[in-house]
Symmetry: D2
Subunit: 361 residues, 4 copies
């Protein structure tokens, strides 16, 4: 292993620069991961654009890291149950594990807030906090999961979108065997939700997309969606009523980024007593909302914040089971030098589904 | 018992007329209830005003009926476990008990929809579907609960607002022992929520109200609210932050009718991972809503539709336990002839909390 | 339709006699079902043997009836959503729908107790309470589910064992996607549990059986069991430890009839905090049990009593989905005249899995 | 603070010896607690007797420690939210926080097993692992809760039995407002369960005890038990049937140590679909158990293993609320020199309820 670690540092909105950092010294409670692949999601796009202007310091982004344990402290090895050479997937969040919320096992609501890989500035030692780098530092609080080494890195790195699909559709949405799920949005999260829902025995799964999402909708059908709707050519609510014979949907998941209309579609398409999961951020924009509609339907709306360990574990089991042709979800790979281009591709290429950066290729 | 039954019939918006109806013939599966008292809530106000213009036919309103079994069919007596002379409280809803939702025990989501006492026209036989009458017809699907006969009717009739408090604050809101609850609105439902939450061991309970609600807020404190906020004199969100030392509230319940601002207060005041229950109808008006706020907090919003058997049963147990001075909740009683005035009183008298009509007094 | 209905009546332990009964007169709230097929389970075997001597009166047994609506009252048609000619599957239990437990949706705990098809004597009018007859009377409280008419009756009648599998493995056992399930017993319920668990995304499913169950264990593997154990040749607990690498099982389901040792195996094989579902009746025999073992493991033991609507619905969806080769589960069909032989076959033929009686063939 | 720490070390079954240990050096992640009081429970009795012979090395026992933060590392102070001078209550267990069970928030099922205060030998550095000492070492994984300093130490130290009551009766037992709870056993855990259940709104609470428990049963009634049963003079099952008018109990909690008969009483006294919590260890002895009884009732049996953070938090809120006269629960205090006598008192004095050791008095 080299003494210097190369990383793609975001130094300004939409601007990356290759930099080198010293290799961290590892103690008994931490470790170092050689990054095989780092996935990209909507949060990366937001961070790249610097929405809200929160990022002023240089940062190594990338919070969906898969890699090989390069070095691990003695106590960390015991706690994590890993040895150098093991392949692991990292969780994004680093909960404090000590506040009252963490004590209750509600790590997502950790009182310390948004403490996550890919979002610390390089000024914070030891700088290597993101996946767009050859190595990532393993903080003692890191949550990680072993992944089988015989799986192609492009497939194994899907643990993150699949984890989101599992948590949003089946844990938060609570879709039960035989129940009907409507997924609004056909991006990687939408398709991952189809996979997770079908893996959990869901009945009909309906997916919406734009005209340009035709290939993604076809992919959704291949993964088990029973119906797809082109929202530019069809009336979503009318189609859903027809498909469900007026019974509407048990669960609706919105993963559309920036679009506000789908939230009201969700309320119209959910059955009395049903559940809506909101997972598509809207750039802090407001919408017109009728509280009475939620009350009259006795509906539940859940904000989907992040992915937790149980969901990651189930996602990895779906990956390792080999029962879905997951390689079809992954469309583009880039070397470290092209991390910015990787993000731009996910942003602008409508056929891009899952895109990853491979810093050591 | 007389051959004719007197009732206060709503014949037009804000207009009642005393009418007489024939005494129904009771078969093996149904029954007849002599009404002791019928409570009044926000739905009555809406119906009285004929919001939305849905009521075109004459109707005997009143869906919070307490009374004495006058007559009961043999099979009904066995199923309901009652005999003539027993005192019972009626549930408002009449689920079909046969659709898939009823099979699942989700009676509130019965596919037959809004099938409830107090909302059938008098043209539907046997006309006596509402509590503003001397007698109410007990349909075979009626859900009823026995209530101790030694409790004053004014207190026993509180089973309905207390049932709402139980379901909204503790079942849907899920407030756990020691948790902090914020109740937005100091009407009968708000105070009932305080009682239900304290009965279930809630920690701090904060209640908001208008300047004119001073007596109601005092009553809320008497029933266990730890803090009250006059929203016209204080900033709700700032006060809640101060009271909770920045931890915000585990559960927020909005029972304010027509007011939209409290919904956004609820989102601001709930902690990460917390729950919001919406129970105050807004007259079908829309509001400005930020989906991202719900997502970023991982919050859950539940629409509170009606009250179910479990909540009614708990409410009756609270009443029968005698552990709260519930008589203070009841402020006004009216005879049948003044049913319309009873509704107007709840509407316009800011000191009115729980108001009831007593058709046989 | 004939005026007389033929039925196989159990007149003494292990003794059936063909008898004829008058066709019932159907009113507005009830109906009549032409029986296509009636499944047989362990309860039938118990009833046939008259364990405990509870059966002293003649009875038409059979509580897993599939058939075609022959006649249905106007109100019943509306409530059930069916018309003559529809194919439906009956639930066994007839809850009162009026006691406090039914009000809570806990129909299984109906205060009226064991009110079920197949267990009323013929002396109770109109006699046709069981599925081993050409027609079965549809009591107003009947719970029924539509089933697609294009499915072979031998497959459609599997709704009952599959419903048990769904409820016991996934609802009561709560097996989650990726979790490990141990099924003790390879009869129809055991294999149905494999199917239900795999349909719900379970990870490894391990099934035990006797040497003579070799074909059933092979069938379990075909339906998705990852491992099978011949308990006469292998040590169950040791094999489970080896298979799970010492992590033991998240959920254990015991469906072995009469065998007591599996209950202790269940306790040994479940992980800390795991769940055990007991579903195999033991002929009222006692066993040696260590309470401390349950406490030290923080384990949960659930008694599996019956099947509920949600489970039946999911089972029918599994059947209609066509995703499992369910015809392999059904091994024997008999005409009405051979109802007793059908029961004896399930009892004594170790290759019999699911057996049905077809009264109108 | 002195350089040497005095502790009461268990050097053999039923034998304590006062020893001195060096004051530990505290780093950034750990801390030191000056013990105000340490409670005693059934596990202490078992440990004192050395049941099973597991204890061969000297150990400082005591796992219910209340104290004042003497010293705390910088990172630990931030994570725990405490400063020197704060009063805190320690949780007994030290989960690894890194295994898959801990990741799921199921700390009780931590794969590392029985890692708890009061059970490490003094040979393990820094020796101070138990509460029968002037100071206790705060390991980085310690879970602790702040407690108000104005509460007498004898009352504040009740956080542990009350935490058990909260978890066993209301979390694991799930007793809901108005439901009936039967508590088998009138020791500190039994009475604590009464308090927790009443705090959560339980309806009737029935408590059993022996003839010599008369004072404890009176105390149970004072804390809200509706009925008490002297099991030596009355038939438990018959009394419960009479009290509940045949409806039996929603939840039954067994806290009797060593007694096996109560487990079968629990099964007989629980209603169909009800829950039984087993919390009283039986010295590894077996009992006669009828699996069919659990199945026929559709009952759930839960093994109560330990207390978790949520329960401790609720317990401390009950203590701080001042709504129960908790000082009556505490019967005996001893100095450090008499730690063995404290344990013997709880063991042999039938009027002892809660007993504590105060090492710095």
């Amino acid at each position: 292993m080299p003494d210097r670690v190369r990383a793609s540092v975001q130094i300004a909105p939409r601007t990356h620069q290759l930099q080198e950092f010293p290799r961290p010294v590892i103690g008994p409670d931490d470790g170092l991961l050689r990054v095989e692949a780092c996935g990209i999601c909507g949060s990366d796009l937001e961070q790249f654009e610097d929405h809200g202007g929160r990022r002023t310091e240089p940062v190594i982004a990338g919070h969906e890291s898969l890699g090989i344990i390069e070095e691990v402290g003695e106590r960390a090895a015991q706690r994590w149950g890993v040895q150098p050479g093991d392949r692991v997937a990292l969780e994004s969040y680093l909960p404090c594990r000590a506040c009252d919320m963490c004590h209750r096992g509600e790590f997502m609501s950790c009182r310390t807030g948004s403490f996550a890989y890919g979002f610390f500035p390089t000024s914070r030692k030891p700088a290597l906090w993101g996946g767009y780098a050859q190595y990532i530092y393993l903080h003692p609080n890191t949550l990680l999961h072993k992944v089988g080494k015989d799986i192609p890195a492009e497939v194994a790195v899907l643990y993150n979108p699949l984890g989101a699909g599992v948590r949003w559709a089946t844990h938060l949405g609570g879709v039960k065997p035989g129940e009907t799920l409507l997924v609004l949005g056909a991006g990687q999260r939408g398709i991952a939700a189809v996979i997770a829902a079908k893996a959990a025995g869901a009945g009909d799964v309906i997916v919406t997309g734009l005209a340009r999402d035709a290939r993604k909708l076809a992919l959704a059908r291949e993964f088990g969606a029973s119906h797809t709707i082109n929202v530019e050519a069809e009336d979503t609510v009318e189609r859903v009523k027809a498909i469900t014979q007026g019974n509407l949907c048990d669960v609706v998941l919105d993963v559309t980024p920036m679009a506000l209309e789908p939230v009201n579609h969700a309320i119209e398409c959910v059955r009395h007593g049903g559940r809506i999961v909101l997972a598509g951020l809207k750039g802090r924009r407001p919408m017109q909302f009728f509280p009475d509609a939620v009350i009259q339907k006795g509906a539940t709306i859940v904000g989907a914040f992040g992915v937790d360990s149980r969901a990651y574990k189930e996602a990895i089991e779906i990956i390792e089971s080999g029962r879905f042709p997951l390689h079809k979800l992954h469309t583009h790979s880039f070397p470290l030098e092209e991390a910015a281009r990787a993000i731009e591709t996910l942003q602008s290429d409508s056929d891009a589904v899952c895109v990853s950066v491979h810093p050591n290729r």
